[in-house]
């Protein structure tokens, strides 16, 4: 069955030539020398005022990276990246560092205004109900330019700050957790990131604390010939809860820009982390010129008992996406969830999915992935679900649907399902009619057609999480939820 008209229109409305965030900001920038070398790493480390151990960590990563080969197993193709033709550090000139928002370059503030990201606490307080407040860390190229509500969060014991500050102020916490989920040697792009990461957010939620507001980071690439290498580290201590959002955009350019981030989440006993992403990097034009190469390593470690990590992603941007937010379900009874909508248009290439690694007893995971390919794009779901010997009672449910609009694009599914435990029960489905017969029966009893009932149930999972995204971040996301997957092919 081909896609229904409504879906086609909705996908068209976010086609590559409709990109709204492609403007450029004129600010005076300070950059590292072009290319990558030990000196550049020393330069970055010095700029950030890092302690010696951090510099050593970076240099070790760099040495390791030199021995590694770029992975080529993903279903994406691109011209070879010249890693020496990139500026690894670019920051707006601000000497001395701004102490308050008033000292930040007004051009930059204007940029965030245009993007609809609120940076002024008073305005947010005036305009919106208190429970909808969002604390924002705004990262502009290689540095964080502003972090809101820091003080108020501090009262609750929550640490929310740029990671470069955290390295200076909370070195013990950073030392303990940095690289503990995504080791320095993990993969080519993660190792590169470990060597040159510039900024990103650090979050620590103390035991028993429910973070009083949504936390978010807004990433903006602005400068030419730069790459953005952010590093985010979120630690939810025992019994705590945090919801974190990430948004990203970049100007329209004919060149490709590299974005290689690493995100590490750690959930201790009974903690819960919700991590949501609205990825809207510049996707390139209709002919495939320009756009961001998005090579990201995101991994969460459910380290404690009964911990929960939820990844939600709405992917509409980037020329190339290579991204597999994963959960290591180490603690007994821990839960991992992955909800994804990936829409590719134009010449975009998406190779994305998740890994659910069941190590502990009675661990559960759920994967709901929707891929929509239009134009000449390629959209691949690649996922791994594995149960190890000791993962008694592990449970997984996977549902991945894809939809093609036009016959110039491709949709692919590459699931890996590995079970080493007889009591583990894994179900992987693309046939939506088999979601849950009871639920289907219930809906159909009440007069819904099979298609409607399926949509209701599948969307029910996704909606639950996506509706919590603040409007500023996710007008597109909201629109996308309603996209019907009628005519989807498994």
């Amino acid at each position: 069955m081909p896609a229904v008209q409504e879906t086609i229109d909705q996908v068209r409305s976010i086609d590559v030539d409709q990109y709204k965030y492609g403007f450029e900001t004129e600010v005076e920038m300070e950059k590292s020398p072009k290319g990558l070398s030990e000196d550049v790493i020393r330069f970055i480390s010095a700029k950030k005022g890092e302690p010696e151990w951090m510099l050593q960590w970076r240099l070790d990563a760099y040495k390791r990276w030199l021995t590694m080969k770029e992975p080529n197993w993903a279903r994406v193709s691109y011209d070879k990246i010249d890693y020496n033709d990139i500026y690894y550090y670019a920051a707006p000139k601000m000497n001395p560092a701004p102490k308050s928002l008033d000292e930040v370059d007004p051009e930059i503030l204007k940029t965030y205004e245009k993007l609809g990201i609120p940076l002024r606490e008073q305005e947010i307080l005036a305009g919106v109900e208190p429970q909808n407040r969002v604390a924002v860390d705004a990262v502009f190229d290689s540095v964080s330019v502003a972090t809101t509500f820091k003080e108020e969060l501090k009262k609750a014991g929550v640490i929310f700050m740029p990671i470069s500050e955290a390295i200076r102020e909370y070195p013990d916490l950073v030392k303990q957790y940095l690289g503990s989920v995504v080791p320095v040697t993990d993969n080519f792009f993660a190792t590169l990131n470990s060597a040159v990461f510039t900024d990103g957010s650090f979050v620590y939620i103390p035991p028993g604390v429910r973070c009083p507001m949504e936390l978010s980071t807004y990433f903006r690439i602005n400068e030419k010939n730069t790459g953005q290498f952010e590093r985010t580290l979120i630690i939810a201590d025992k019994g705590s809860y945090v919801s974190y959002l990430e948004g990203c955009t970049a100007p329209k350019r004919d060149e490709n820009q590299l974005h290689a981030a690493v995100v590490e989440l750690i959930a201790l006993d009974d903690a819960e982390i919700k991590y949501s992403t609205v990825q809207n990097w510049y996707p390139g034009d209709a002919e495939g010129r320009g756009g961001i190469y998005n090579f990201v390593t995101k991994r969460g470690d459910c380290r404690g008992k009964n911990s929960v990590i939820t990844w939600t992603q709405v992917e509409t941007g980037s020329a190339i996406t290579w991204k597999y937010p994963s959960c290591i379900l180490r603690g007994d009874n821990s839960r991992g969830e992955f909800y994804s909508i990936a829409v590719s248009n134009g010449m975009q290439q998406v190779d994305s999915g998740t890994k659910m690694i069941h190590l502990g007893k009675n661990t559960t995971s759920r994967i709901i992935s929707k891929g929509i390919a239009a134009g000449k794009s390629e959209n691949t779901y690649r996922g791994l679900v594995s149960a190890h010997r000791k993962a008694t009672g592990a449970r997984n449910f996977t549902n991945c649907d894809s939809l093609l609009i036009g016959n110039q694009c491709g949709a692919h599914t590459v699931p890996y399902i590995e079970s080493k435990n007889a009591t583990a029960v894994f179900e992987h489905e693309a046939t939506t009619s088999k979601i849950s017969e009871d639920q289907m029966f219930y809906c159909q009893q009440r007069g819904l057609s099979e298609e409607e009932a399926t949509a209701l149930i599948v969307n029910g999972f996704v909606k639950d999480v996506l509706q919590q995204l603040p409007m500023e971040f996710a007008v597109e996301a909201q629109k996308l939820i309603s996209i019907s997957l009628e005519g989807s092919v498994g």
Partner: protein, 437 residues
């Protein structure tokens, strides 16, 4: 990933030596063999970093290469064929092989069923028979190391041509004589002309205790409006390492049905490469695998829909007892022009005991926008509720389990059209379950 140059394993070195020794004695075009071997040797035995062999690391599994089997004497052949026999209950035309060599004397060439022609491959290779031209590698198989090894070493086989509707099933019976371990490489070509139909049984038997290493390739070319029923049984001995490939090119409005039942081998890998070249064709590829001990079995499947309106159904059932490992890798490919495709792939695995493992990889690769493709994979233990139900009715646990396992595998076997062959397979399942309890 660091750049690693792999050292040649002893098995790889042995293969090079074996090919050196055998090349002058093998029949047919030496050049194409040498070419295939060179292609193989350039990469060596596939290992876990080679995506298609991720779960079946031949580099680790194939430690020692058994010597390639010579032509058996008439007495040896007779003795080998005299033993117990798969599909004994099916009245079929026997086409027997002993140690990978066609036993010519066992076939009455003068009285073949109407519509069947058989040419021994060894003779055909030596004389350059015209049908050899049809032995062209199917897409996806040509680059496959197992297929390349077979092309390098194939010593014998048959070419069968089917015209018209053939009632009598043809039984390709491969027997490896008891005793010392041998490696064999056979190639069978089956050409089913337009409008023809045939039932093809294939059985592979060998004794326990010897490290036999068969590598068999069956290539089928099924024309338009053909009906092909293919039933394959792996009943190799408990130490065998069995590699097999089915490569099928199928025409329009055809009906093609193939099942592989695994009830033997320490290690086995069955690869199916099917391409649907004509419209409105129905393809069914099934599998029923029974594993115990430390057995390892891999079912690899690539189905390409290369025409409009084709339907394919793939159903693979695996039962895993003890510490055995099951692998399913399936892929349905639908290019731009294959609109209205309806493909459904399912792999289900039952793990009966702690210690077993199952690896599933059901892939879809779709470029057409008006198709229905689904894939599913499940893996788990027997349903407690069902067990309870049966036990509440007085069945002992083992028996209840057996019944459920039988029903589970039965779903895959029931598609075998030939009643006698189906019965033989059901008996194989029963035998396996009996040995278990």
């Amino acid at each position: 990933m660091a750049d690693v140059t792999l050292m040649k394993t002893p098995a790889e070195t042995a293969l090079v030596q074996a090919f050196e020794n055998a090349r002058t004695m093998l029949p047919g075009n030496a050049e194409s063999r040498a070419q295939a071997f060179e292609q193989f040797n350039a990469r060596g035995l596939p290992h876990r970093r080679v995506e298609e062999f991720k779960y079946t690391d031949l580099r680790a599994l194939l430690r020692e290469v058994a010597p390639f089997a010579g032509v058996p004497t008439a007495e040896e052949a007779k003795a080998a064929l005299g033993g117990s026999k798969a599909f004994a209950n099916v009245a079929a035309l026997q086409v027997p092989f002993v140690n990978g060599h066609f036993v010519r004397e066992a076939v009455d060439f003068a009285n073949l069923p109407e519509g069947i022609e058989i040419v021994p491959l060894r003779e055909a290779l030596a004389s350059g028979h015209e049908w050899l031209a049809k032995l062209s590698p199917v897409p996806w198989a040509s680059d496959n190391p197992v297929y390349q090894l077979n092309t390098s070493f194939m010593a014998d086989g048959v070419m069968i041509r089917v015209a018209g509707s053939v009632e009598t099933p043809v039984h390709l019976r491969f027997v490896t004589a008891a005793g010392s371990a041998v490696a064999t490489a056979t190639r069978v070509l089956v050409v089913v002309e337009n409008d023809a139909s045939v039932t093809l049984l294939e059985s592979h038997e060998s004794g326990d205790g010897a490290n036999h290493q068969p590598n068999d390739v069956v290539e089928m070319i099924a024309g338009d409006r053909t009906n092909v029923q293919h039933v394959r049984l792996n009943a190799e001995g408990d130490k065998a390492l069995a590699l097999s490939t089915l490569a099928a090119k199928i025409g329009a409005e055809a009906n093609f049905n193939s099942i592989n039942v695994v009830a033997g081998s320490a290690t086995s890998r069955h690869q199916v490469y099917a391409i649907l070249n004509g419209e409105n064709t129905n393809l069914r590829v099934n599998g029923a695998t029974m594993l115990k001990g430390t057995q390892h079995s891999d079912s690899t499947l690539v189905v390409e829909h290369n025409a409009l309106h084709c339907e394919s159904r793939e159903l693979f059932k695996t039962v895993i007892d003890n510490e055995a490992t099951g692998v399913f890798q399936g892929k349905i490919i639908v290019p731009h022009h294959a609109q209205k495709t309806d493909g459904r792939m399912m792999s289900a695995a039952l793990l009966l005991e702690e210690g077993g493992s199952m690896n599933n990889k059901p892939e879809l690769e779709i470029f057409a926008d008006d198709v229905q493709c689904a894939h599913g994979a499940t893996c788990g233990q027997l349903d407690e509720d069902l067990l309870f139900y049966l036990m509440a009715r007085g069945l002992p646990k083992k028996e209840a389990e057996s019944l459920l396992v039988q029903a589970f595998l039965g779903e895959s076997i029931e598609f075998v059209e030939n009643e006698d062959a189906r019965e033989a397979l059901v008996a194989t399942v029963e035998g396996w379950l009996k040995a278990r309890s």
